[in-house]
Structure formats: C-alpha cells, structure tokens
Symmetry: C2
C-alpha cells in the first residue's frame, strides 16, 4: 500500500509521551512482541512507565502475549531523534493541548522518512486542526484509543484534509494487524464517535451532580448495575432494537419516539423524521445481518450472564423461600 | 415497616402487562420461587409470555433459581380483580402512555388493600404525574427496571408527592430482597438516573446517524469494543477518575475541563465551578472508599479481562511475529 512498509516487517515502534495513554500504548506494543522506543521530556517518565508496564503485564499475559514479547524491551529517551531511530510506526500521546500537538506532530513528520505513519492518540482534535504547521502532513493520522489502551480494543482512525488516504488505510490495517478493533471514519467530527457518545453521558452526569439530583456513586451504580451490563454485548442501537420486543427498532421508535421530546436529558434530540426513522431501522437490520430476533436475544442473554458470572464468580441464588 | 407485609411472607405477586418488560419481570419473579398472576388484555398475551419465559429460563437457571422455582407457576388473566387475588406485591408494566398509566394505577390502588405496594416500571414518568387520579396514592412507587428485567439487576426506586415514605422504603427493601440492585432516589427527575445517562448517549447517536457522521453499526461497535467494556466494571465517574492517571479526577477535570466547551456532543455541559469540581472529586473519593489508585486499576483490569475472556473464551494471542 503506497510506500508504506509491510506490517510484518515492523519490529520497532516509537511512543511519544509516556503518560496514562502513551504508557498504555507502550505496554500494548511490548505485548505484541515489538520493541518500543519512548520519548518523554519529564525526568521521572522512565520510572512511571516501568510501574505502568509492570502493572499492565499480568493482564497482557492473561490475554496472550506474542512470541518474544518482553516487558523490558523498551528504552526511554529525552532526545526526539534518538527515540525515533528505527521506528516503523509512531504513536503520539502528548497532553491534549492543541498548540503542543501541532508543534510535536510537525516535528515528528519532519524527523521521519516518507514511509513512516504517525498516529495521534488525541481524544478529540481533528487532524486537519493539528497538522497545520507540518511541512508534510500526508502521514499524520488520528488513531484514537481508549483507556487503558492495553485492554480496550477500539481505535478510531481518521485522517485530516492533508492526509494521504493510503496512509489512513495503512494505519487502520496496522492497528488491526496488532489486534485492535478499528473504526475507520470517513469524516472528521470533534470527539470522533465513541467520545461523543461517552461525552454526552458524562455531561449529563455532571449536570445531575451539579443539581444535586444524583451522587457520583449513584451515577456509577446506575451504569454498572444497569445498561452498562449490556453495552459490552450489544451497543445502544441493538439494545433498543431488542427493547422494542418482536417489533424491533421500528416498534421502539414508534413507541418511545415521543419520549425524545421529554426532558430526560439536557440534550435535545434530532427531529425523528421518516428518513431518520428508516435509517435507524435499516441500520439495525444491517447489523443483525440475518440473525433472527430470538438469536439476538439469546446472544444478549448469554453475554450478560457470562459477564455477571465473570465479575462475580461466586454469584449464588438469592435465598427466597419457594412457594 | 408500616403496615406492609414481611418480605418472606409474600408468595404471590401480580404482573400488570406482559410485554417485554412485564413478561421479563414475570420470568424473574418465577425464578425467585414466587407464584405470578399476570394481567394482560391482549388475546395472545399468554402465548407470548410462555415464549418469553421459556427463552429466559435457561439464563435464569444459569444464574441460580430459588427453591421451588418453576417456569409454569403463572396464570394469565384478562380480569383485573382476578389477577390481583392474593398478590402481596404488584408490578405494573403497561405501555408508556401517561393517561393509560394514570388510569391503571388508580384502578390498581382502588382494587388492593392498604398493605399492598404497587411498583411501576415506567421508564420516565414521575409518580407524582402518574398518581393524579388515584384515590389512594400512598402505595404507588416507581420501580424502574432495565431490559431484560430478568438479567439486569438495577431497579430505580422513587416515590411521588403522595407516596408514603414507608411504602417507598418497603419497595426498595423488597427489590433488594429478591436480588435486585436498588438505587433509592430522593427526588423525582424525568428519566430517573440511568435513563438520563442512556438517553443522552442515545440522542447523540441519533444526531450522528441523522447527519451521516456514523452508521448504526459504527455506533454500536464504538461502544461494545470501547467504553462499553469498562462500564460493567466501573461507571463513567470512576472511569474518568482513573483516566486522570495518578492525579485522579482532580487532574482529569483540570486537564480535560476545557474540553467541556468543545463541541464533542450536542449536549452543553454545566459550568465547571470550583464547587462542582470539588463535588465530583469528593464523590470519587467516597466511591473509592479507601481503595488505593493501584487497587482500582487492578480491579478495572481484572474486570475487563474477565469480560473479554467471558465474551470470547477462545481469544488467543494475535500472530505478530516477535522481534
């Protein structure tokens, strides 16, 4: 693809920034048997990274290491050029400050050859806004992970206006190659997809805390004991598809459509036009991909049970006297 | 507590409405060894309920049945008085239409003795708005479950203006007694807590579909492979507490606070005042309840791994060649 390397030829990657996200990336790359070169200007970066990798390694081992993976196969540098030496891919995870990202990405693009793709962990900036000062922005791609990057598979991939489509496609393939779940977006939107969803929930939570409507603990319990148990199994759309009963999403929208006008959140809903209604219904059908309604329910139930059992292996029947 | 029965003395409950939610409640009550009397006016209610219970029973068996629990210990009635006979508790799960709920709750209150508490499965109406026509609204309480009610533990409990506090407390205790996770709310807010959070996410998803920014499938994948994997383990607040690194929620708010102004969702955030900032930080501390940061991370990681393993038991290392 273009002039970019074959994935299997990459043995060394560079992690720029070794905070929670950058360090998590480093741990993940190590678990894939890659050598990792880390750049971080702070004097205690090496120590913090050591602790982070040590804490993550049991989890990574549990999930399965690649051949030759070692928790020690990393070096930490304060000199950028040194950190980039021999790296076949670069993951930038600097603090979320636009000017800082712009400057750093420009330096990274300038310091690497035309075959090195640079992925940014930004949680919300569009690459078009971050790549403004780079002389060559063609290899700059957003590769947005979730915390902790060594356990959550999702990476959202999207290029900026100046990004070469081949570089974006290469990055998506690369993340998939190392075992990530990739969403390739056609369009830059602030916060991408998952953070927009998460941020809507978070803002509503902040409003509730602000108004004294719920405590922090109640908000967390409402998710962990409620809809949160469904979400690793089926996303919000398929969840509502099943909530509609045998009528599916169509019934759901017709029955609960009016509640989009209710003040159930501070977020105003879009108008539920016939077009939007149909697009959501069709989307659920596409996603169900021929699975019967009863099959989707069985999958959901099996998933929730597996999760509840996994999180509470000793879960036992409640002692309600029988009739 | 007041004049209400001891929980262990209740052997029979009534389910009003046998749709997805009402039928799910019936299945759950049966699994707890209770006799269930179902009222539903539709002619095929009995058949649909039979199918729903049969589909749910393997899951309920897997989670553990109470002594004497039988999937056949139910009767279906079209006569309301008959359905209520001998019921020590009533769960109302009629369609989400205000006038219908008002009418039905008034009839239920009128047809039962002063010792019978009536829980409503409403997904968003305040009891104060639903109880307007009831002669005796003192025993009418919201007991809001999540779909499927036989697998998701959460029940949100809140009374209306005319509800006797003892009845609300009794209902909360009852749901806990039968094995549910209860959030008791002091205050009525539309959509309660979990649905407000879920609805914010859902509306943002609808906006994205409406604008062609994401497909239904991408939205679901963004959750199931992303933040959704964290939410059964730690809710949104504790998640962000850990995302802040060792600085916790305080660092998170100071670092990402400015992004509350970003257009990452259509939901406008509250002003991050010093008071709100402190309330969120204190809430996280309360919830952490003395657990060290490293312990919280270890719990999160163990939970996510358990979930990933539970959902993909055959998950194996990705074949990345070692160095």
């Amino acid at each position: 693809m273009g002039n970019f390397p074959e994935y299997q030829d990459i043995t060394t990657v560079a992690c720029i920034g070794a905070g929670t996200i950058g360090g998590g990336w480093a741990a993940y790359f190590l678990s894939r048997g890659l050598s990792v070169r880390v750049w971080d200007p702070s004097p205690d970066a090496g120590q913090k990274l050591r602790r982070l990798i040590d804490a993550a390694w049991p989890a990574l081992t549990e999930l399965g290491l690649s051949d030759g993976a070692s928790p020690d196969d990393f070096t930490v540098h304060t000199d950028l050029a040194e950190a980039l030496r021999g790296a076949g891919f670069i993951q930038e995870s600097a603090p979320e400050v636009l000017e800082l990202k712009q400057d750093l990405l420009a330096r990274l693009a300038g310091a690497t050859g035309p075959d090195v793709v640079i992925g940014s962990s930004t949680s919300g900036y569009a690459m078009s806004d971050m790549a403004t000062t780079a002389v060559d922005a063609s290899r700059l791609v957003v590769g947005h992970p979730f915390n902790p990057p060594y356990l959550i598979p999702l990476v959202e991939v999207v290029g900026g206006e100046a990004t070469e489509p081949d570089a974006t496609a290469w990055a998506a393939g690369w993340y998939e190659y190392i075992g990530k779940s990739v969403i390739s977006m056609d369009r830059e939107i602030p916060g991408f997809i998952a953070n927009r969803l998460q941020e809507a929930l978070w803002r509503e939570a902040l409003h509730m805390v602000d108004n004294g409507e719920a405590t922090v603990e109640q908000i967390d319990l409402a998710i962990t004991e409620g809809p949160g148990l469904r979400w690793p199994v089926q996303g919000p759309m398929l969840t509502f598809h099943l909530a509609g009963g045998e009528g599916g999403m169509a019934h759901m929208l017709d029955h609960f459509g009016p509640s989009l006008k209710s003040p159930w959140t501070r977020l105003t809903a879009p108008e539920l036009t016939p077009e939007l209604r149909q697009r959501v219904i069709d989307g659920c059908d596409d996603e169900a991909d021929g699975r019967l309604f009863s099959e989707l329910i069985a999958e959901r139930d099996a998933g929730i049970i597996a999760i509840r059992r996994a999180l509470a292996p000793s879960m036992s029947p409640v002692a309600v006297p029988g009739t």
